[in-house]
């Protein structure tokens, strides 16, 4: 019985992870809609499985662990805040070994298109190397850069740019069923 419940939760999480992969809104900050739909149908345990209160959920990773780190202008060096977030990500990934992740690097619009793709890749790689240094297997982590193609904030001032210069760890289903 316990076994069955666990499996159904795992399947649910896997489904969420896949949803995170294909969800067109995943470039947005912490996805409440995803967390909201997660509990339906599972209904076991003290928390709604898949919701942000489920420590094994994608929503928890996004909201409680923190799925992104931010970078200064034209830089790919991690800030102290960024390292703290990645410490949390590493700990979570070590505990949830059935997940893989794609780290998406992004740039703000102040730069030429191709340079920004290269810069985004540098940022994604900085985050990846840090996670690997904390013990996460490199085989679980891929990187991609979107350059300036997918801003989450659309204003043309530093307040928006600061949020766009980011590396986002997007979980993917890594269940070997």
């Amino acid at each position: 019985m316990t076994m069955t419940v666990t499996r159904s939760v795992l399947f649910l999480v896997a489904g969420l992870a896949l949803a995170a992969c294909t969800n067109p809104n995943r470039f947005g900050p912490g996805d409440d809609a995803l967390a909201g739909t997660a509990g339906a149908g599972a209904g076991a345990g003290a928390f709604a499985p898949g919701s942000a209160s489920d420590p094994r959920s994608v929503a928890y990773f996004q909201q409680a662990v923190g799925d992104r780190v931010l970078f200064p202008v034209d830089q790919s060096n991690l800030t102290p805040e960024g390292r703290a977030t990645l410490d949390n990500q590493a700990a979570w990934l070590m505990q949830n070994a059935d997940f893989t992740a794609i780290i998406e690097g992004h740039a703000d619009e102040q730069g030429t298109r191709e340079y920004n793709i290269a810069l985004g890749e540098r940022r994604a790689n900085s985050a990846r190397e840090y996670l690997v240094s904390k013990g996460v297997s490199g085989a679980r982590l891929r990187t991609i850069s979107y350059g300036k193609e997918r801003p989450i904030e659309v204003c043309s001032v530093e307040a928006c740019y600061a949020k766009n210069r980011r590396a986002v760890t997007v979980l993917a289903g890594g269940l070997s069923s």
Partner: protein
């Protein structure tokens, strides 16, 4: 006489903007100036072309209008309105009443005739130097299909432009670009192709995945571009005629982008990013053998060949900021050519070989500029919140680029400007547009 007058105008304009082509190469401090030199455009008249066959009157009118628009669009010519005409032009080739055209100060007169037989279209034209009282060059005739009428109008314009300026034309050419719709944070992009003047837009891909920076092959029959359709950025080669495409080989776990053809149409130079480092590679499109051209820990991207294929200009941040470098086409030692204030990117070698166009970022503004291939005589042609990605007209005299407006409602559009910084104008597109690549003159 027309040619002399116009050549004089051009020479004056270029002297005024520092765009002269004297061989003197300045060393020492960079001199940068953005000048809106004004020249007096040459007045011309294009009476409606004669319709030689029944039912060809509308086509004759349309062709005349396209010729007039091509010439006026250069900023070098000014069309005189038909309401000012004293003389009417009789049948094609009938004697021209020069005094009547002189009286309204038409320096050039273009007459033409249009003949439609079934699906075959013939267009003839003559160019007259009104003040010299003689024909400039001899009459020419172009034949094609009725639905290719715009191309024949552009061919007339190219011939007129070449005879008067002594330069190659650029009107019978196309532009491949990225068509953009949707809000800034969920922009939909697809490849599109159109005539240089924005006519005849056709879409080459759908907008399911991000597509970037298409680049024409030297013969204009194929296009290289970057697409995220596999989930990761990869380079695709698209045949313009059949719209068939294939991905070029790439290694798993890498990203490839920024492709551009070599003048031989066989080799592609591009960037690969892997492990936080971006370098430049060259690949033969048939064998798909890739050769590494740079190996620095910095970002090396946006490569572009010289027209003779011996050198590559590219951007690198190896000095700590984005700058332009030139290296041999086989790789090896690169020399830096940009030394002004700010950052330099997206260099593109002129088809004439004399200049390199680039994007410059300085003090929160973006510029399109040109410099000689040794980096001297830098001149900025435009300034805005975001200008980037220059592409050269086939004659190396005009540049098209992307301009994006700022803020939440920011939109991209195409603009063109001539290399003296004059005649900045938007290129009409149905939706937002970015990343233009100008084809060679069509055959």
């Amino acid at each position: 006489m027309i040619q002399r007058a116009l050549t004089l105008c051009l020479a004056m304009a270029m002297a005024a903007t520092g765009a002269g082509f004297a061989s003197a190469q300045s060393q020492g401090p960079l001199r940068i100036e953005i000048t809106e030199g004004v020249i007096e455009p040459l007045p011309f008249a294009v009476p409606q072309f004669e319709a030689e066959t029944a039912g060809s009157a509308e086509m004759a009118a349309q062709i005349s209008r396209v010729v007039a628009a091509d010439l006026s669009g250069t900023g070098l010519f000014r069309e005189l309105p038909a309401t000012a005409f004293i003389s009417t032009v009789g049948s094609f080739g009938a004697p021209v009443q020069y005094a009547d055209w002189k009286a309204i100060n038409a320096q050039a007169l273009i007459t033409g005739a249009v003949n439609v037989q079934g699906n075959t279209l013939n267009v003839k034209f003559r160019l007259y130097d009104v003040f010299a009282g003689s024909e400039l060059g001899s009459g020419l005739q172009f034949s094609g299909t009725v639905d290719g009428w715009r191309r024949m109008a552009h061919k007339v314009s190219d011939a007129v432009y070449s005879r008067i300026t002594g330069e190659g034309g650029y009107f019978d050419s196309r532009v491949v670009f990225v068509s953009e719709t949707g809000p800034k944070d969920a922009r939909q992009k697809r490849l599109a192709i159109m005539d240089y003047d924005g006519a005849g837009v056709q879409y080459l891909t759908d907008s399911r995945s991000i597509v970037l920076a298409p680049r024409f092959s030297p013969s204009g029959d194929r296009v290289l571009y970057t697409s995220y359709e596999s989930g990761f950025p990869r380079i695709y080669l698209l045949d313009v005629g059949s719209v068939q495409r294939r991905a070029l080989d790439s290694q798993d776990g890498t990203m490839s982008f920024a492709p551009r053809f070599a003048p031989n149409g066989q080799t592609v130079v591009y960037s690969i990013s892997q492990g936080g480092n971006t370098d430049i590679f060259a690949m033969d499109v048939n064998s798909q053998q890739a050769v590494r051209l740079t190996s620095a820990p910095s970002i090396e991207t946006a490569p572009s060949y010289s027209p003779d294929g011996t050198q590559i200009v590219f951007e690198s941040d190896r000095s700590g900021s984005q700058q332009l470098y030139v290296m041999p086409a086989s790789g090896g030692e690169a020399r830096r050519i940009s030394f002004g204030e700010g950052r330099y990117g997206t260099p593109v070698w002129s088809p004439r070989g004399d200049l390199i166009a680039f994007t410059k970022q300085n003090n929160g503004r973006f510029h399109i500029g040109v410099m000689r291939t040794d980096g001297s005589e830098e001149r900025l042609l435009t300034a805005s919140f975001l200008d980037e990605g220059p592409t050269w007209a086939p004659n190396g005299r005009v540049i098209m680029f992307t301009r994006e407006t700022q803020g939440a409602g920011g939109q991209s559009a195409l603009y063109s400007v001539d290399i003296s910084g004059r005649n900045l104008r938007p290129v009409p597109t149905p939706d937002g547009a970015s990343d233009p690549s100008w084809s060679p003159l069509q055959k």
